[in-house]
């Protein structure tokens, strides 16, 4: 066996984790199976569907295109950290619920991570901008319209 093993330390949703990983271990597999944070989903493992999106130091990244070892020393945010500590929905979670923005819900964690980061950057997006920002996340169930409406509603609620 190669001694291709690394010790890594990173935070996920503010909690510090230490891990011992093979260099080839994907960040998505590390989160899902080593840390048992299975809310991050995997749809393609080749960077297209966006289901695996997490935030790396606040920026959306595809955890299937990153190695766990590359996340060493970084701060990761996942779907499990999106509600408030008391369990209240983020405004986008609430709006997704209100607008029926999810059906099977498999794409949903990636969409929530992508679009909450987007709303942090752009507080008053147009529908065009929302569709553009969403276009890297595939959803096979909803036809996107209700997700777009949810993002617009969340933006409005977050502004007021």
């Amino acid at each position: 066996m190669d001694s291709d093993i690394h010790d890594i330390t990173l935070t996920v949703n503010g909690t510090t984790y230490n891990g011992r990983v093979e260099s080839r271990l994907l960040l998505s597999d590390f989160l899902r199976h080593d840390l048992k944070l299975a809310g991050t989903h995997v749809g393609c493992e080749h960077g297209v569907c966006g289901a695996c999106t997490v935030l790396l130091d606040g920026e959306p990244v595809r955890s299937c295109l990153m190695l766990a070892v590359q996340a060493n020393t970084h701060a990761i945010s996942t779907i499990e950290g999106l509600t408030s500590p008391g369990g209240d929905y983020h405004p986008l979670q609430q709006a997704m619920h209100d607008h029926h923005g999810l059906q099977c819900g498999y794409c949903t964690p990636g969409i929530l991570m992508t679009m909450t980061a987007f709303l942090d950057e752009n507080a008053s997006p147009s529908e065009e901008e929302v569709r553009e920002a969403l276009s890297g996340n595939l959803c096979r169930c909803t036809g996107y319209q209700n997700i777009v409406d949810a993002v617009m509603t969340a933006a409005a609620r977050m502004r007021s």
Partner: protein, 780 residues
């Protein structure tokens, strides 16, 4: 009085888990000591297997076991025929079902050859490279017409041809009708449908507990009950010793029901061999080969018309690509054959199809399930007829619609559920009118003129369809009031995002006067409920929904009876609302449903003879035949005549699926269907070369619609209840996807004025590059 929730846009009970990352999907199942599986799959479409050597793989550290077909012994056998052919006289059907691991021959790329079990998925995949396979490659059968010519390679040598099935169905006498016709229009149509590609691929986890003699299987299936019963038989276990759980499933759309996928058969067996839990999760590349597809048909169709545009008859002869095996019988081509007739009066019909074996992955239903192909042929024939007879395209549809007083309307042929194709109810013309209004049909020519003056090419499409939904045989449901006053419902169907946790709760809430959020629905766990067929053919809400309704009605009766005994009053004096039974007009005189449930399960004393304990009932519902929904889609597009880039300016859906349980969820189903229809019509195509290799097996190459491709949709509906079930509902799962192909073709022709340029769009998909080819060919 609790607020009525039936028919309201009630928000979903299931959302919270999904929105917070707490929902359990199959790949989230983690068990101590779990092993991981990878499959070595054939890289060629057609070959004799000379030898497979797994010895090097077994030596790799971390590899626990590997098996070929020969290692399976008696467990290796052909899969069952999931859907036998309907009893149509003269039908030819050559049953050749698939196998768990290829033996002797491989028949499509991706067919599994070896299963490898290792400590991690990474090691299992490494070990695939250690396996030596010697194959003798054969010519691949890919082209449908060549497949039927003498001298073609044979997918199954013992069949003697590549005919999987041939079926002819007729109504009236087409030849006689054609002899009297004023006009006959004949064309050849090609329709491709693609891969359902849910964002969650398939997966199976199997855990054998030797002490308890208990097998537990987590499976992304749409039909857990049948998987349990079938696997119990194969494994030599009692049904009650096998539990199949279809937890949250990330989309299905049809292909997640197939009896049985090789992985479903192999994982439980491996778990018993090794006495360890095992997991297999399909990767996206595998999904393109190992999960079933829908694909192409070639239709040679003709329509016979009277001068006024009335349809006198239709004749259609078509080829259907069935893939390498035919475990799903004839469901897809029968749907094409039947749905072609649409909402129209077609007095004479003569339709023959041949299902062809090819060296390509197996074809089974994917949302629409062959209906698209038929609707495309009919709608295009009507467009051609309108053009040739110089009749308005909306008008030619209108004059051929089945009139409202003609229901139930018997088409005199047999449908996929073995029952005559009879439409239960409908009122089609108002749906057409609403769609024409909503799209602005009356003013469109003017609008088009003005756009052209500005150099813009806009076009309109309109198409009609029916959808046979809610077929039998049956589903069941158990409804129970618990002593805490909450209600639990269990049904046997699986759920993949259709909102069952909410719509079933709404149905029970209506009967039991309790809040939807106080109702807990379990689907897809055979330890909770083990009768029923599964989720397919837009039947979940119709068939299982009615079973829930029946069970809830019985529970309601039981509650009233118990309360009337308790209060010594007549049941007529009681009302159920807000979780309690009260005496009308006597404030404060009530008993909660929870208390009644506790009383119905006494710890001491005696009960009357025949008393059933608990506030609980299990009921079943089986419709006599399917309920037929209908609709009209209309669309305005703008085309760039040089790049063939297409922009949808307006999209309208008007439909009728009977009584609506939850309009919010229904709207979502339509949105999603239309999105898949757009992918199908515009660009989704499984591109195989002549050796059966798939050239676009990744989501970077096989494009799914994104938020930039799917437009905002305007929806409206009418309500014509189905007489075939007490709630009057019809299914809606597939409606959105069905008529989008002909809509595209018609709107693009209109935008680019192709009819007058001698270009007819007789195929789907119509990607920009394909449109470029077709129009260039016409220019010569």
């Amino acid at each position: 009085m609790s607020t009525r929730t039936f028919g309201q846009p009630v928000k979903r009970n299931e959302d919270r888990k999904l929105l917070t990352g707490q929902a359990l999907f199959v790949d989230d199942v983690e068990l101590p000591g779990m092993l991981h599986v990878a499959f070595l799959r054939s890289q060629v479409a057609h070959a004799n297997i000379i030898g497979i050597d797994i010895s090097r793989a077994l030596q790799r550290p971390g590899v626990i076991a590997a098996y070929t077909a020969d290692d399976l012994g008696d467990y290796w056998r052909h899969g069952p025929l999931l859907v036998p052919p309907p009893p149509i006289p003269g039908t030819i059907f050559n049953e050749r079902t698939h196998v768990p691991l290829a033996k002797g021959k491989v028949r499509h790329v991706g067919e599994p050859l070896v299963i490898v079990i290792a400590e991690s998925r990474y090691i299992a995949e490494d070990a695939l490279d250690d396996i030596d396979v010697e194959l003798e490659q054969l010519d691949a059968v890919v082209d449908l017409e060549r497949a039927l010519k003498a001298g073609s390679a044979l997918v199954h040598d013992d069949v003697g041809s590549n005919v999987s099935a041939r079926v002819r169905q007729t109504k009236g006498n087409y030849a006689a009708a054609a002899a009297k016709a004023d006009r006959i229009i004949a064309r050849r149509f090609h329709y491709e449908h693609g891969i359902s590609s849910p964002i969650e691929t398939r997966g199976v986890v199997a855990q054998w507990d030797q002490r308890a003699s208990q097998m537990t299987i987590w499976d992304t299936t749409q039909a857990p009950v049948f998987v349990r019963n079938g696997l119990a038989a194969m494994l030599g276990l009692n049904e009650r010793n096998v539990r199949v759980i279809a937890p949250f499933v990330g989309g299905g759309f049809g292909p997640k029901i197939m009896m049985f996928y090789p992985e479903e058969v192999l994982l439980p067996w491996v778990s018993m061999q090794l006495n360890r839990p095992v997991k297999w999760i399909e990767d996206r590349l595998e999904h393109f080969f190992a999960t079933t597809h829908e694909r192409g048909q070639i239709h040679d169709a003709e329509i016979a018309l009277a001068a006024d545009g009335r349809i006198l008859g239709i004749k259609d002869v078509f080829l259907h690509d069935g893939g390498a095996y035919d475990p799903y019988g004839l469901t897809v081509p029968i749907n094409s054959q039947c749905t072609l007739l649409g909402p129209y009066v077609v007095p004479n019909y003569d339709s023959t199809f041949t299902q062809v074996f090819t060296n390509l992955p197996i074809v089974t239903p994917y949302r629409g399930a062959g209906r698209q192909h038929g609707v495309f042929v009919m709608e295009r024939l009507l467009d051609l007829a309108a053009h040739e007879l110089d009749i308005d395209r909306a008008e030619i549809r209108r004059i051929n619609l089945i009139p409202a007083d003609a229901f139930p309307y018997n088409n005199e042929i047999i449908y996929q559920d073995f029952a005559p194709l009879s439409y239960d109810s409908g009122n089609y013309e108002p749906v057409l009118d609403m769609a024409l209004n909503a799209i602005g049909y009356a003013d469109f020519r003017q609008q088009q003129h003005e756009a052209r003056a500005q150099g813009r090419h806009i076009g309109l499409g309109i198409s009609c369809y029916v959808e046979g939904t809610g077929i039998g045989p049956y589903e069941g449901a158990k409804v129970q009031v618990q002593s805490n006053g909450k209600v639990s419902i269990a049904t046997g169907i699986g759920t993949q995002g259709q909102g069952h946790f909410t719509v079933f709760a709404q149905i029970a809430a209506e009967q039991l006067g309790i809040d939807v959020t106080d109702i807990d629905v379990v689907t897809g766990d055979t330890d909770q409920f083990y009768w029923g067929a599964g989720t397919f053919a837009s039947r979940g809400a119709v068939v299982a929904g009615n079973a829930v309704n029946e069970a809830a009605k019985v529970v309601r009766q039981k509650a009233l009876k118990l309360a009337s005994d308790l209060f010594e009053c007549s049941e007529d004096d009681l009302v159920i609302a807000d979780g309690k039974v009260s005496i009308t007009g006597v404030p404060g005189k009530f008993v909660t449903l929870g208390d009644l449930a506790a009383r119905a399960n006494p710890m001491r004393g005696a009960v009357k003879p025949g008393t059933e304990p608990g506030l609980e009932s299990t009921q079943y519902f089986g419709p006599p035949s399917g309920a037929t929904a209908n609709g009209v889609h209309a669309m305005i597009v703008e085309m760039d005549p040089r790049t063939f880039d297409l922009k949808i300016l307006k999209y309208v859906v008007v439909h009728d699926c009977g009584t609506v349980i939850n309009p919010m969820i229904l709207t979502g189903q339509i949105h999603g269907g239309v999105a898949q229809g757009i992918g199908n019509a515009f660009f989704e195509k499984l591109a195989f070369d002549d050796q059966g290799q798939l050239l676009n097996a990744s989501l970077a190459d096989y494009l799914l619609p994104t938020s930039l491709d799917v437009p905002r949709m305007e929806l409206d509906h009418t309500v014509t209840p189905s007489p075939l079930n007490p709630m009057g509902i019809k299914g809606a799962g597939e409606a959105g996807a069905i008529p989008v192909g002909p809509l595209f073709a018609q709107a693009i022709e209109d935008a680019l004025d192709l009819k007058n340029k001698g270009v007819e769009l007789l195929e789907i998909p119509l990607s920009p590059s394909r449109l470029f080819e077709l129009t260039r060919k016409a220019k010569g």
